[in-house]
Structures are given as C-alpha cells and as structure tokens.
Symmetry: C2
Subunit: 402 residues, 2 copies
C-alpha cells in the first residue's frame, strides 16, 4: 500500500488491445490498495507521423509550433487510457502536462522541468482517481506548451514521483529489466536484480536504451526508487537505487552505441587555445562531444579527433568548416561507421585490471580499437561499427557474468 | 485596414497543400494591412478517426475524456497552419482554446462559451502576429478541456470577433455563400448578396449547412458582421447582417432537412397536462422537438405527432416507452423516411399568400404534406423523404428567384 507512479512507453499503448492491457495492470495495482499515477507516451508511431506532417509543410518549423503539434500525441494516449480504465470499472482522470502542473523552461523541444505544481494531482488522487498524466510535455512561463525531448516521459514519471514523494516509480518497457548486455545480440546476457544510479547513468548514456539519462539523474538527485520491468509479463524487473555495499561484480554490463560519428581535424597548428576554440564553438551550438583524442602530428602540428552523435555530424562539420581559418586545421575527416562499446561497474574503480581484460577480449577477437575513454566506473572504446556485435559478445564472454 | 477573424473548416485544411493555400490567403489578408485572427477546425476526417479510436476502447467513454481526445484534432491544425504561414515568411502563433481564453461551461461535448479572456489574443496581435486559434474547444472552471459540439468552430470564430470587436468575421466554406436553395439539387439556385441574421437563423436551423445556428445567434446578439464565402476562390460571398430595409424578395431561400424523424403517439387519454408530460420528459434528456401536431382521435382520445433529429429517435422512443403508463398512450409509430422543406424570408410576415403559394407548388408536384409549421419568417412542411428534391425544385421554381 503506497503511492506508485507507473510509466508506459509508446509501444505499450500502440493499439486498443494494448491500451486495455495497460489499463488492467494499472487497475490491478490500484486494487491492491495503492494510489496510482500513470505517465504515458504517445501511441506507437504517432510522434513520427506528426513530425512527418510538419515536415511536409515546413521542414524548418518553429520549435514552439512543433511542441504544440507533438504534445497532441500524449494527449490522445492519456484520454484513451482513462477511457479504458473506466471501461474496466475504475475511476480515472487524464491530465495534460499543463494540467498536471509540469512547469518547464522555454527550450522548446528539449525543455527541462523546473517544478511541479502538484495541487491538481493531489486533488485527483485524494478523490480516489487513478491519474493519467501526459508524459514528455509541460508548460513554460508564457503558458505555452513545451516538450522534454528524448526520453521525456521517463523524466516526467520520475519528476512526478519525486514531487509526490512516491514509494516507487515503475518504468514499463518491452524488456524484463536491465541486462548485462543487450539480450538481442548477446545470448548469455543476464538480467540484473539491482543496479546503482551511477551504473545506470553510465549504461543509459552508453546506448543501453532502457532508461533515459535525465530520468536516472533526477531519480538519483531526489532518491526516487526506480524499477525497470516489462509490460508484457509480471517478472520482477531491475531495481535502480543507491547501492552502498561494495558490489561483488566488478563489471555490471556491456553496452553498445551505434549512434556515434567520429570527426578528425588533421594538422592543426600546435598552439595554446586550439582545443578551447573547437569545443566552445561546438558547445555554443548545443553539439555534445563525447570521446576526445589528441595526437601529435608532423612538424609542430597535431590532430584532434572526437565523437559526436550521428545526427549532429553534418552540423558539426559545417560549423567547423565555417571557422577553418580561426581554428587553423588543414583537413577534416569523418566517419559514422563506428560504434562505442563500453563496460560499466562501480567496482571497477579499484581494479585497474578490468580495462586490460576488456582490451584483451577485443584483441582475441581481432578487433581494432580507434579510441579509448575511461571514467571511474566505465571503460569505452571506439571500434568499427561492423565489429560491434562481435565485440559485445567477446567482452561479455570474457567477464563471464554468472 | 482593420481586425478580421477568418474561420476555415476541416475540409479547407485537410492536407498539406490545402493548409498552404489557407496560409497564403491569411497572409494576403494580413499584408493588406489587417490584423488577423484565424480559427481552424480539425483536418478532414480527424475528428471521426478519433471518435473511432475511442469507440474501439470504450463506446461509453466519459464525455470529459472524449473532449480531452477530440480537442487534439484542432491543436494539430493550428500548429500546422502556423508552420505554413511561417514557411511563407509570416509571423504566426497558434493558441489552443484555453490559451486563447475561451472559457465555457462544463457541459462536455456541448459546451457554451461563457466569456473570452482576450489578454493573450490581444498581446499576440499587438506583437504583429497572425494568431491561429483552435476552434470548437475551450476550458471550464476546473481547468478541464471542453468542446462546443457541432458547428463549434463557427461559434468560436464569432465569439472571438465579438470579444475583440472585429470589423468582420469571414466564415470560409466549400460553397460561394448562402443560396436560395442547395445548388447541388436545384439548378437555378442563386447566391444571395446579403441576408439578415433572422433569415440566416431560420435557414441554418432548417438544414442549409452553411453556418451553424449558435454562431448566427451569437453574431446577432453582438452585432458581428459575418461573411460566408468560399475558400476555393475569391468570389464575394454572402454578407449576414442586420437588415432594416424591407426586403424586395419575400422569400429568400428554400431549405431541406433530411435529418428528421417523426414520432406519433396514438390514442392518448385526452386530459390536461399530457403534452407537458411528454415534452418536459424529452427536454430533460436534451432531446429537441421541432414540429408538433395534435389531432383529435376517437372516443375522447387524441394523437400527438412531433419531429426530432434522426440521431435522437431511438433515445426518444425508449424514453417514451419507459413512461408509457404515466403518459397514457396506446401505441407509438415512428418513421425517419421524412424530410422537412422550408421557405424563409423576412418579407413573408406581411404576405399571407406566401404559404399558400408554397402549398400550391407542392400540390402541382403531387407531393403530400404530413405536417405544417410556420413562424413569422418561415413556413416548413414535412413530406416523404423521397420527394424532398422534387419539392425543393418545385418551390424554388414557384418563387422564381430572379
């Protein structure tokens, strides 16, 4: 008995039958004596279809109008889910982002939640209603509709759980939980019973598409107990929480990220401030840079390589070429045929042999490493995209998760 | 130069090309030096598709959730139209019903506008924006989304024109204006240059599907100058306004309404209060009754016949059968194979011969009349549905609109 926030993604509510399934699960939770807030994404391909509609009219539509358009996707889902719960005899009320008091900044398309005015949520819960909230959306100080960008519904759910002091925030998805590797590419991948916020953060940002980074960050900040579980069965899922004990397992998981492109600036003048000029330029345009590698070139010149998301590749190259003179490089080389493969584990920090084992696994599999990046709890390598699956399997085998 | 409200229906914005056409027309109006507010309906079949989605999940969905669902249709249209205007180089901002301050009562599905808090509208107009407002929707005192029911977007447009003191409210549709009869069934039908509010009211309620009654009522109340014109060409359209001069033409138009069903209660006890019992019963359930006819039956009994909308027929019959004892009738007979054909004209009131001419036209065409109803500016007859087109043509010919 408590207050539970449940989040269902777009595929969980893709058609009428799935909406009814979700309704039944929500109602079961409610009937066990819990207060329930449900956060829902847009149905199936709705968001993509809406983007297509917009592109047909204006490929450079203003972000404010895009948010006005896209927010309808979740509004459709919440009303249908409320109707489904009513059909099963439950009391449900749907709330849009603004009705649920989701106040955000004004960065249309990538807004962040500032605060949640939870009066309405509380009022509906007190009235015994199951409250269905549109994920991914909010309202800014101008009373305009905003959206939170990728993974926004996860963030909405965690934010509501934090604001209401929920006992649990369940993220329903199409896998059973967090795995030691992607079960679709690694046969022996095992489900984890629990994982720490920090480990989950590294995994999320490394391409294990289970939970979005921002939602995990927020869960960590407000100490929201998360569970990642499947909407297709009643298996236990993986608990994401603060883990204090030293973990037995050094490495918790192997992740792969194909949405990576590498940019190399060749023969840059070797003088102070070059790196600053390059990366502040990219940062100003909102282009995130991941792994950075600097190497010595010929005759007082150097090379700088770094990775960006594939979707940012063209913008980054255009930007750099515009400032070719100022930066002072000779040539720009790019490839998107690369993948980032990473291992994550809080136990790694005190065990320097872990990285070596990973490199050994790759060597045994005859896979060349282009770049390496490490943090306290992860090691990432950049390799050719065609080797990514083989690499994940080789590394997973090496650490034989048992 | 002035403030113009333009309303475009769902077929005018059904696809990307049509949205662009509307955008161009709106922008032209703006470039002529006018401030422009545009009210838009949902695209093409969007509303029907959404209703279908809801029915699949819960045919008896709560009206609150239906409004939550249906209001997304207009929200999609407004954002797309704003994007289209931006594409053409104009400044546009879209506003949902609640953002535009459209406050309504809480009769979900059939709400009425209480007041318009026009601060946001004015602010956007002052900033030089073309303001695109979602028709058909508003917000109630609980901050819940409501819809206005049939013809709601016309009503939204007129209400905004009234609130802002607009110089003109243009209702764009797929016909050139108001005709003396439906041009699809009467060859010689002629477009009217102008028509009075009262005449338009009678025509609207009689099945000339150009303008919804509620919008005309509101236009009359707040003296909003309306123009009905085509979105497909630049013809002048028909002006709807207060007409003081005695009209030359006695009869302004002939209208047909096939959405009519007749209910006859046979052999009712002839005692005081019977009519009251019947019609208060129907009124309580929101069933509108149109023509009523009472006739003397046999042996102290009487018959009462009346018409309702076809969509209300089943509900009305169920309701009456439930109260068969209290009302005290013997039998209930119904038919939906009837049409109402009417003539409308402000000049009619002082010319008793007009009704007779109409009956003569029907007699000449060998069409039997079931019921007759008259008001100061109209005469309606109920006839078999299969004769409706013939009747409209015969009457139109009789009054030879020139």
């Amino acid at each position: 008995m408590g207050l539970i926030v449940q989040k269902f993604g777009g595929s969980s509510v893709a058609d009428a039958q799935r909406v009814m399934n979700v309704a039944q699960r929500v109602l079961d939770t409610y009937k066990q004596g819990n207060s329930v807030v449900v956060v829902v994404s847009a149905q199936g391909d709705t968001t993509d279809d809406l983007i297509e509609k917009a592109k047909e009219i204006n490929p450079k539509a203003s972000k404010r109008e895009m948010d006005m358009l896209l927010s309808t996707g979740e509004q459709i889902s919440i009303s249908l889910l409320a109707m489904a719960i009513q059909k099963l005899g439950g009391n449900a009320v749907s709330l849009t982002g603004w009705q649920a008091g989701m106040h955000t900044d004004s960065n249309y398309g990538t807004s962040r939640i500032h605060k949640i005015m939870s009066e309405r949520l509380k009022k509906e819960l007190d009235a015994g209603n199951i409250v269905i909230v549109a994920g991914f959306q909010g309202i800014n100080k101008y009373d305009d509709i905003t959206t939170l960008g990728r993974g926004g519904s996860d963030t909405s759910a965690v934010a509501i759980a934090a604001a209401l002091g929920a006992d649990l925030c369940e993220i329903y998805t199409d896998v059973d939980g967090v795995y030691t590797a992607d079960p679709r590419i690694v046969k022996g991948a095992k489900k984890l019973d629990d994982i720490s916020y920090d480990e989950m953060l590294e995994l999320a940002s490394l391409g294990a598409n289970v939970l979005h980074n921002r939602s995990v960050e927020m869960a960590k900040k407000y100490n929201v107990k998360l569970v990642v579980r499947s909407s297709l069965n009643h298996n236990e899922g993986t608990i994401v929480k603060e883990v204090n004990k030293v973990e037995k397992m050094l490495v918790r998981g192997v992740a792969r990220d194909n949405d990576v492109a590498r940019i190399a600036l060749v023969n840059i003048v070797d003088e102070p401030g070059v790196a600053f000029r390059i990366f502040s330029l990219l940062a100003k345009k909102g282009i995130n840079v991941d792994i950075i590698l600097q190497s010595i070139g010929r005759e007082g010149k150097k090379d700088i390589s770094f990775t960006v998301n594939e979707s940012n590749l063209d913008a980054a190259v255009d930007l750099l070429n515009e400032h070719k003179e100022t930066i002072g490089f000779e040539e720009i080389k790019t490839t998107s045929e690369v993948s980032k493969v990473s291992i994550v584990g809080a136990g790694m920090v005190n065990n320097p042999g872990v990285a070596a084992s990973m490199f050994e696994a790759l060597y045994d599999a005859n896979i060349n490493i282009h770049m390496i990046a490490t943090s306290e709890i992860k090691v990432s390598v950049l390799i050719n995209e065609k080797n990514a699956e083989k690499a994940v399997n080789a590394i997973h085998d090496k650490f034989h998760f048992a």
